[in-house]
Symmetry: none
């Protein structure tokens, strides 16, 4: 069974003026939680640093002891939610041996988690414009790792069959990111389906079915 790729230590660190790492940890959590609330509601540009600080329960000055600019906060949230979703998926496939079930579990959990955190995912997508080159690169790195997780699962699933490596890669990308559609088509889906759950079941079928294209010749 393919190994789950090691989480490489991120190079990008949000600069801090604080020394005690326990304090940093605690404050960071506060800040991220506050930021998520405010950003989800108003988006990046319409959220003021003051609001975030208030929501986080710290003063402006304190907040700026833990970040060096507003944009840093996006990255922190991004990092946070990325870890959570990845963790969710890893937990979901833990203990499952059958490659098909493993893959299905991953795809399902990915969809569920993205749906659960849809407002944050939405905000992150909309905000990545504002992050600096370095952070963006780092973010891409993380995404690639995440996609590699799916690549591994797909390879296990198609083991033995003759498949195109390129297709594996593309499929992994689509599997991982198609669920994002639930974030930006949310209104439309809501209007047409009784419940979000129903829509999600449909999407899952679509994805799982589409996935099989990997094993076929290109049209």
């Amino acid at each position: 069974m393919a190994e789950i790729p090691e989480k490489k230590a991120g190079k990008k660190k949000v600069k801090t003026r604080i020394k005690s790492s326990t304090v940093i940890g605690r404050r960071r959590r506060q800040i991220i939680e506050g930021a998520i609330k405010v950003f989800s509601a108003k988006g990046f540009h319409n959220a003021t640093v003051r609001e975030i600080a208030e929501e986080a329960g710290v003063t402006m000055g304190t907040l700026y002891n833990y970040i060096s600019c507003k944009e840093d906060i996006i990255y922190m949230v991004y990092d946070h939610i990325g870890k959570i979703i990845r963790g969710d998926v890893e937990k979901a496939i833990f203990g499952i041996d059958d490659p098909k079930e493993r893959l299905k579990a991953a795809v399902r959990q990915n969809l569920i988690s993205i749906n659960q955190y849809h407002d944050i995912v939405m905000f992150i997508d909309r905000s990545m414009t504002f992050v600096d080159r370095v952070s963006l690169h780092e973010a891409l790195e993380r995404e690639t790792e995440y996609i590699e997780l799916f690549e591994g699962l797909l390879r296990d699933y198609f083991k033995g069959k003759e498949v195109d490596e390129t297709r594996i890669q593309l499929a992994a990308d689509l599997l991982a990111y198609m669920p994002v559609i639930v974030t930006f088509r949310r209104w439309s889906l809501r209007r047409r389906f009784k419940s979000m759950d129903e829509a999600m079941k449909g999407i899952l079928d679509f994805v799982l079915h589409g996935m099989e294209f990997v094993a076929r010749k290109g049209s």
Copy 2:
């Protein structure tokens, strides 16, 4: 063959102080073109009205004779690009009779057009937060019409087979919007595929294949 749904006249009108409709038309085009350039490059919030005016070749004062606020411009661009893409798809299926080919042509053209205008599509996606309720509603209306176009094509394709209406609707949504993935996964796709064309061919296969889930029982 299902009718292409009538393009209902949009209720939302961007207010203008100008009377001569020929002048309005000319100015609007200028503004939209200028806006597309600036917005594509810098996004909504980082683009200043002044820049847009300059790029459009009008003065600030003049610009404000044709819009009532910055947000109006998003809607204008949205409207513009929406018409173009829909027009492209309609042209692409024109004259094709076979339901399967018709559907495939629509899906393919949709993908091509979204890819072609990827920067505008991206910007619009990121900017819809800023538009007011009314415009948003109007925009949703248009999107619905567009999806109904795909619904019609799907119904024709699955005619005779026993399919779930709900699945038709979901499939239409996914068919129409999945290609958006090429806009926000662009960097990743670029890094992994020799050409964007190759990636797009893969996506097309995925979509067409996934589409068949409509005719199957839910998993």
Copy 3:
């Protein structure tokens, strides 16, 4: 008689968003006058842009239509006062033919003008740290031109005598800038002399006398 060196057109221009040059002229004058009042009283760093705007009788927004950052204002004031002092000196020597009298008139007027605008001169000296490289260079250029004016006068005065060119240059520098001493020794001088005039007479003597070192061998 040596020509007064041409005033070269300054390359540095403070950027403006305004087009009408008459309006620019009028506003600039307002801004410079307001700035002089505020800067003289509080120095650069303690003066707020808002105060300057108020003193100038314009709003903050308007002010920023004529400058691009606070530092620009220093340069504007510098430029303004430099022109005035140079103009004063040129007027003072106008029509005088005797080289010695010409030189003395220039030195005297330089002292008088610097004394008159002592608070601005003081402020400028203290603020040049804040101006950017380009402006600093431009400022230095202007100063050099001003010193060249004195060099010319000195050369005329020492014509025929055997003098060291280096000494001419140094003397010009000292002649032009020694009076600045009245700005930063003002308190001390005030306490010891009945009137500033008396102190200035003494300084003038000192300078004129010291000047003769040009014609002597180095000690």
Copy 4:
């Protein structure tokens, strides 16, 4: 021979919370040295207390045990450098009996020291605006003492000749402070003279020569 005026004990004391005077001495030295580095490089307003603390090798909290506000640091540096320069001059004239040579030695050493500490002298000049009334008064007191040193030397030198007391005072002021010109005309001088030494030699001649005006009638 005139007595070197007693160094009166300064009334101004920078308040401290610390009792052990040995500790105070050590810390003070650290702080002054750190401050000189940072202030020389960035000036008063652009230097942060944090930077000074770091450069001095103490923490912010500790620093504030030895000062009561940022401005105090200027005064400490001022006091420190003043003592050094005065000490230099006193050493330079020590053992010289001939009044003329004594005076020349003082003037020369004054110039040398000011040139040596030019960046600190510059910074102090630029920063005296920020110190409070009391400190300013105290500083002026010190300066007066320093000038009185030169007054004494001038009186010895002109002993027997009929000179105006006022002129002695003015000359002392100019002798003591003219060298400051090397700090704020530094760039200009550097550009025109091969070495700073050469420029300084010229300035020395100018000063020594100008000094003789004391023995002459006013112009």
